[in-house]
Amino acid sequence: MTMSLEVEGLRKEFDGRKVLQGVDLRVAPGEVFALVGPSGVGKTTLLRCIDFLLRPEAGVVRFDGREAPNSPPEQLALRRQIGMVAQNPLLFRGSLSYNVSFGLCVRGVEDPELTDRTLVALAAVGLRDLADAKASNLSAGEAQRVAFARAIVVRPEILLLDEFTANLDPANVAQLENAVTAYHRQTGATVLIVTHNLFQAKRIATRAAFLFGGQIVETDDVVTFFTNPKDERTGAFVRGEMPY
């Protein structure tokens, strides 16, 4: 069962500075959707609004057509179906296994299933040998891979990726992109990936949207988006004429 993700009229401001000014977005179930835009335009803010980290001033977020519930236990259940990987993720003090198994523990999964799934997830990102290593000693690439394994080990139905390969070398980027694709193929999850790497968007996503000036300026399938954008601003961005 995969879920659709819908955002309507979302507004968010910080200390009077309006960041999101009426964002509308529709991600179909099982779709891989890229959200692009210049730095600081509010892509991360949008993701944080979706994942209950921020409360918007106005607007709705809908999961499978239903608005996010208010009661904490229901909200918790919904939250547990969403996974997020951020840029520069924070790993908990402890081993890699501890980090990756965290989401499973939280959901009450016990041994032997707990250890099995943890090791499988670590293997998927090529870190099974480091399962017992301390998380504090990892390189950026390794940390990002752990964060990814940590997010998908619980099989979220919606996966939010926030520039999650931004600081990595090409080898790590490729590995993580393959992991995303593999996960999507296995589970059919709905994936919303924020990136300012246009090539990445082209490689992984099927549809893309351009966030600019607090709103979604254009939404298209990936091919059209990059070769023949409708909006002038999208075109400027895609051609690299817009400063970051």
Binding site: D51, F52, L53, L76, R79, R80, I82, G83, M84, P89, L90, F92, R93, G94, F102, G103, V106, R107, K134, A135, S136, R150, A151, V154
Partner: protein
């Protein structure tokens, strides 16, 4: 030596019992409270912090006096019969030690990287699980809080003297005995007890420190 307190073993054991129990009780009160308060983002914090910081400076003798008036037969809790008993001394020390552990825990938890809480939240932790995770990440600082709290308890003399009464065979602890030794000029005995105090502190701290080392990243 006239009236120098007998039974060093008994006195030492009572010190350990009173200080250990009061530190444990204070820990069980202060850590959950400190974590809950430290995790709260909203204001109303300032008034609480001011009260707490004032309580840091609460002189143990004053706490002792207040507990004395509370526990006296003529006082509101007189029916409990706790004045001049070890349990009364524990009560007094809990009053002194809890604000210390609470304050340090609150500070440590509040300054745990916000991202720790967010990461646990995003990974699906409920309130209890989030608290446990924060405590685990802040474990080193929380252990410091406990160490400082125990230090206060074991070195404290005013409150346990006032509330305990330094009764031979009943409520004599190391610190109060040092005081009466001095008033009787039994300085050698007093120093010996002081050495025992230091040894206790050293042993307890080394245990807690070892625990703390295991919590470092």
């Amino acid at each position: 030596m006239l009236t120098v307190a007998g039974d060093i073993v008994g006195i030492t054991l009572l010190s350990l019992l009173v200080c250990g129990t009061s530190t444990l009780i204070a820990t069980l009160i202060a850590i959950p409270l400190g974590v809950t308060l430290g995790l709260r983002e909203v204001g109303g914090q300032r008034l609480l912090r001011n009260i707490l910081f004032t309580l840091y400076g609460l002189p143990p003798v004053l706490a002792g006096l207040l507990v004395f008036l509370l526990l006296s037969r003529s006082g509101p809790l007189g029916g409990l019969g706790l004045l001049f008993t070890p349990l009364g001394m524990v009560f007094a020390q809990v009053v002194v030690v809890t604000p210390i552990i609470l304050g340090i825990t609150m500070s440590v938890v509040a300054t745990v990287e916000r991202r720790v809480k967010e990461t646990a939240f995003v990974l699906g932790a409920d309130r209890w699980q989030l608290s446990v995770t924060v405590v685990r990440q802040a474990a080193a600082g929380i252990l410091t809080a406990v160490m400082v709290g125990f230090g206060r308890a074991i070195s404290e003399v005013g409150a346990v003297f006032i509330v305990g009464g330094h009764i031979e065979g009943q409520t004599q602890v190391l610190t109060t005995t040092i005081i009466t030794d001095i008033s009787q000029a039994a300085y050698g005995h007093a120093v010996a007890l002081g050495v025992i105090l230091l040894v206790i502190a050293a042993v307890v701290y080394s245990l807690l420190y070892r625990l703390q080392e295991r919590t470092m990243p």
